[in-house]
């Protein structure tokens, strides 16, 4: 935290940038608290970036280490791209939350703890032999120890709530304190409480009181001597909202459906971290959207294919384990050349892996995880807000080329959020769908000269009755064919069709000088950390540039040329080097990997250290 200027009043200090982490039991409401702080900060005009981090268990045993849930928010008066490497402020609701998160807190950072939760039992559950609040082990931090449980219960005592009900409001007491500490208004959260609990006036009142009590407590107590102000960021002019990657993904698909004037059919089986897309889309049926919660992943994929055959925009969403189950059916979509989008919100693997943690290890699965020569275009959004544009792009490519398309988001993008400058509807790219209706000269596997797409001829169209399926097709007629020459021709044709997409996507733009010593090549959710690290290096006068790939199959046309302008290519990925493998194979470059597989996104500092090593 850099201090810029001090105002008189109870020490209001202006700072540029703060990272706060709220941590507690998974039932403590830390995600909600974090989201409220995020929304308020966004409305206040800060740039923001968030990182929710929660366990796969819905309610792990109370007070245990695996049950700790955290929400990190970075808010700033300047342009930021990541949720921050580590928190400047940690709010720990119990000993387990302290134990799990303390290592990330910066030295001399603010540490706010609920001292009431530091009972012998809770200390034991967290593996503390002695109470860290009393043994001096936290002296490196600005420890603010508050009997939060008691304060909160006192504030609500005459409302007639049970102790348990009242205690559930303590996260809002903590939120109120943080609002005072960072000089935020209460109104956005008060409004939220009012609409959320309008049917339950007592709970409404309890939450309002808890929030206000926390705020007033921080204002009056001697524990806090100063508070901080983070001014508005100078974002580009426009209308903004805060959005998570999964919300943006859902909106991107809806937008594609609206622009293409075809109804969206979303078939999905619930899976972390993709389920929010199903929840979001099911709320917007007034856009003609049909959502189908299928009996399994395979049914979701094949139903999406069936809907596409019938002329809808077929869509399925899942995570890596679900993609594994869908593989055969994705091959069917390749063979029948039907437009479907497969959204994979990646998580830690293999197998069930780390359901709630992020990873980028499904790229090669998307590229190659099917039987036979089975090319599928692959796209990946770079930021939570970029999910909108890339989800839209996925359908543009799918229907233009009559092909399934992989959309690779990840848990970090899906759950993370940032301010999104709303696009103007009239500025969205066009998606023009022309069903074949003319029986004259019709064959199901005729080809468009430029795109190699086959015609989309939907049931209900007189004179175009035809049969398709997973068996090899004869060129043009679409009849079943076992002819050896035809098979090789069709395999090459399907590959060529996907390769030609490169003619219809933008070239990559280099961030920094187009030639130099080091080029960092990234994809997906690591955009923020990579760009910030590269920018830091550039500010130090180092010859480092970067490109970020949003189209991974095919690659943008100029990528090979860009790579050749640099001495060293560094490919940071949250896997063991999957894009690295593709780049080395495709361009014969001796690129280096920088790999992290911890279920967490890159920190800027990690990348900066690596780059320092290279230049």
């Amino acid at each position: 935290m850099q201090s810029i200027e001090t105002e008189p009043r109870k020490g209001l200090i202006e700072i540029e940038n703060v990272t706060i982490r709220f941590a507690g039991d998974s039932g403590d409401g830390m995600q909600l608290t974090g989201m409220q702080f995020t929304n308020t900060s966004a409305i206040l005009g800060n740039d923001i970036s968030t990182l929710p981090d929660f366990p796969a268990e819905i309610r792990a045993p109370a007070g245990s280490l695996p049950g700790v849930s955290g929400f990190q928010i970075n808010f700033s008066s300047r342009d930021i791209r990541t949720p921050g490497d580590g928190p400047n402020v940690l709010v720990a609701m119990n000993p387990a939350a302290l134990k799990v998160n303390l290592g990330d807190l910066e030295k001399s950072g603010i540490l706010i703890v609920n001292s009431d939760a530091f009972s012998d039992l809770n200390l034991k559950k967290a593996g503390y032999e002695k109470n860290p609040l009393e043994d001096g082990s936290l002296s490196a931090y600005r420890l603010i120890s508050i009997p939060l449980t008691d304060l909160n219960l006192n504030a609500l005592k005459d409302l007639g709530l049970s102790k348990k009900e009242a205690d559930r409001c303590k996260n809002f007491f903590a939120l109120g304190m943080m609002y005072w500490l960072y000089d935020r208004p209460l109104e956005p959260t008060l409004n939220w409480i009012e609409s959320k609990f309008q049917k339950n006036p007592t709970i409404l009142e309890a939450n309002v009181r808890a929030l206000r009590a926390g705020y007033n407590y921080a204002d009056t107590t001697e524990l806090f001597t100063t508070h901080y102000r983070v001014r508005k960021a100078s974002l580009a002019p426009g209308k903004y909202r805060n959005i998570t990657g999964n919300e943006a993904t859902a909106l991107g698909f809806i937008a594609a459906s609206q622009v293409a004037k075809r109804p969206l059919f979303y078939a999905s089986y619930p899976i972390t971290p993709a389920s929010d897309i199903l929840h979001e889309l099911s709320r917007h049926k007034n856009f003609g959207i049909k959502t189908f919660q299928a009996e399994d992943e395979i049914a979701a994929m094949t139903a999406a294919i069936g809907a596409s055959f019938a002329g809808h925009l077929g869509l399925t969403g899942t995570s890596g384990p679900g993609v594994a189950l869908k593989s055969e059916a994705i091959g069917l979509a390749v063979m029948t050349e039907l437009p479907v989008v497969i959204a994979n919100i990646q998580r830690g693997g293999p197998s069930t892996g780390l359901p709630t943690k992020t990873e980028q290890a499904d790229l090669l699965q998307a590229m190659f995880g099917r039987n036979g020569e089975c090319p599928v275009p692959v796209l990946a959004p770079a930021t939570p807000a970029d999910c909108f544009a890339m989800a839209f792009e996925a359908f543009r490519i799918a229907v233009t080329f009559m092909t399934p398309v992989f959309y690779l988001s990840d848990g970090y993008l899906g759950n993370g959020s940032e301010p999104w400058k709303l696009p103007r509807v009239e500025d969205l790219p066009n998606i023009d769908i022309q069903f074949r209706t003319d029986p004259e000269g019709f064959h199901p596997y005729l080809r468009d000269e430029a795109t190699l797409a086959r015609p989309w001829a939907v049931p209900g169209t007189p004179g175009l009755e035809h049969r398709i399926g997973g068996l090899e097709k004869q060129h043009i007629t679409g009849n079943v064919s076992y002819n050896p020459d035809n098979h090789e021709f069709m395999v090459r044709l399907r590959a060529e069709k996907v390769a030609r997409i490169a003619n219809f996507i933008p070239e990559v733009k280099v961030f920094g000088k187009p030639e130099g010593k080091v080029l960092v090549v990234g994809w997906g959710g690591s955009y923020g950390a990579i760009t910030s690290a590269v920018e830091a290096m550039q500010e130090r006068g180092k010859s480092v540039s970067s490109v970020h790939l949003r189209h991974l199959n095919p690659f943008p046309k100029n990528l090979g040329e860009v790579l050749s302008g640099f001495e060293t290519i560094l490919v940071p990925e949250l896997n063991l080097g999957q894009l690295l493998w593709l780049l080395r194979a495709r361009y014969l470059v001796d690129a280096l990997g920088f790999n992290k597989i911890k279920g967490h996104p890159f920190k800027i500092s990690e990348l900066v250290s690596k780059l320092e090593e290279l230049v």
Binding site: N286, F309, P459
Partner: protein
């Protein structure tokens, strides 16, 4: 379906089609003598009677001998992957409720690899027709036992006899609350046509099991009750509202004795009025389930319509939710949606 104001699929006007209109130019490649030929012929005969435009039919299949069926029906067709036809059909029908959607499947396709989709398509009461060709063998993979093969069956993969107890497809359908359950026999073409026609007219899921002879790998699997000389004595045709009578001499019947069915001979004080009267429209499928479990030699093998009841269909309920959302919230406006939630303006 409206497409830019233009109607796709002419639902108005008289539809006058013949069996020949549903025949494709593709050479039919089932083994000579296969029971599939008869089912194809009866289906092609049934379709014109439905007075639905040809372009509004969609035939979906999985994998197996029976699943080649769509190539031979001149309509829209989708030869899918193994076991998944009901799920593909769900996508087609849920997206476009106005289409007449048929799933053609086999005992392995529907009950083994595709058991899950079969079960869920039925319990959702999707308005499609599922025709299961049951030959009690894997034909396309050349002769392994199937989930409907009898216990102890010796095949290439079970030289010492299979140790799997067979599935009864009708019981699976009824247990999943199927709203139409029927059964017929490939060689009884008239009966097959009647059952297919009733299935096609039923709104909601229609499940029809057809005993189909595989003359290469399981020849004669059903002949002990399907051969003409025994058929009337060893099968019983279920007809709604009629007592359960069977036999060449129409002298045998089915009686409900406590919670069990039994075969009785008429005469000696037993009259028609003692027999069970078939009620296909009973909302409770319990009796249908008991009938479905009847098997030769203890009982005649029942064929016909076991169960046929009305219930809202999945596709119409889904469409109704869309329409309800539109009337409640108004047609979706993209601009408004993008700007929903808390927004702020940066000057």
């Amino acid at each position: 379906m409206k497409e830019n104001g233009k109607q796709i699929g002419h639902t108005a006007g008289v539809v006058d089609l013949k069996r020949q209109d549903f025949v494709t130019d593709q050479e039919v490649r089932w083994c000579p003598g296969c029971g599939d030929y008869s089912i194809l012929a009866q289906t092609q005969k049934t379709l014109p009677e439905l007075k639905i435009p040809r372009e509004n039919f969609v035939f979906v299949s999985g994998i197996g001998c029976s699943s080649r069926f769509p190539y031979y029906v001149n309509s829209y067709g989708f030869h899918g992957i193994h076991g998944r036809a009901p799920a593909i059909a769900t996508g087609v029908k849920a997206a476009r409720p106005e289409l007449s959607v048929w799933v053609i499947t086999g005992d392995g396709d529907a009950l083994s690899i595709g058991g899950n989709h079969f079960m869920h398509a039925i319990r959702r009461n999707l308005d499609i027709n599922i025709v299961l060709f049951n030959n009690r063998i894997y034909g396309l993979t050349k002769g392994q036992y199937s989930p409907t093969s009898e216990f102890g069956k010796k095949t290439k993969s079970t030289p010492q006899g299979s140790i799997d107890y067979p599935i009864n497809p009708l019981c699976v359908a009824l247990a999943n609350e199927a709203t139409f359950v029927g059964r017929s026999i490939d060689v009884d073409v008239k009966h097959l046509n009647t059952v297919l026609t009733q299935a096609a007219h039923h709104k909601g899921i229609s499940f029809v099991e057809v005993f189909q002879n595989c003359n290469i790998f399981n020849d004669g699997a059903f002949k002990h009750f399907t051969e003409r000389e025994h058929r009337e004595d060893r099968t019983i045709n279920l007809e709604h509202g009629k007592p359960l009578i069977f036999g060449k001499d129409r002298n045998k019947g089915i009686r409900l004795n406590g919670l069990r069915l039994e075969v009785v001979e008429l005469g000696n004080g037993i009259t028609e009025s003692d027999l069970l009267v078939h009620d296909a429209h009973s909302p409770d499928p319990s009796l249908a389930y008991m009938l479905a479990r009847m098997d030769y030699p203890e009982f005649p093998v029942p064929i016909g319509v076991f169960h046929a009841i009305g219930k809202p269909t999945y596709d119409e309920l889904m469409e109704a939710q869309v329409q309800d959302s539109i009337s409640r919230m108004g047609p979706g406006k993209l601009e408004k949606l993008l700007a929903s939630g808390d927004t702020w303006v940066v000057e």
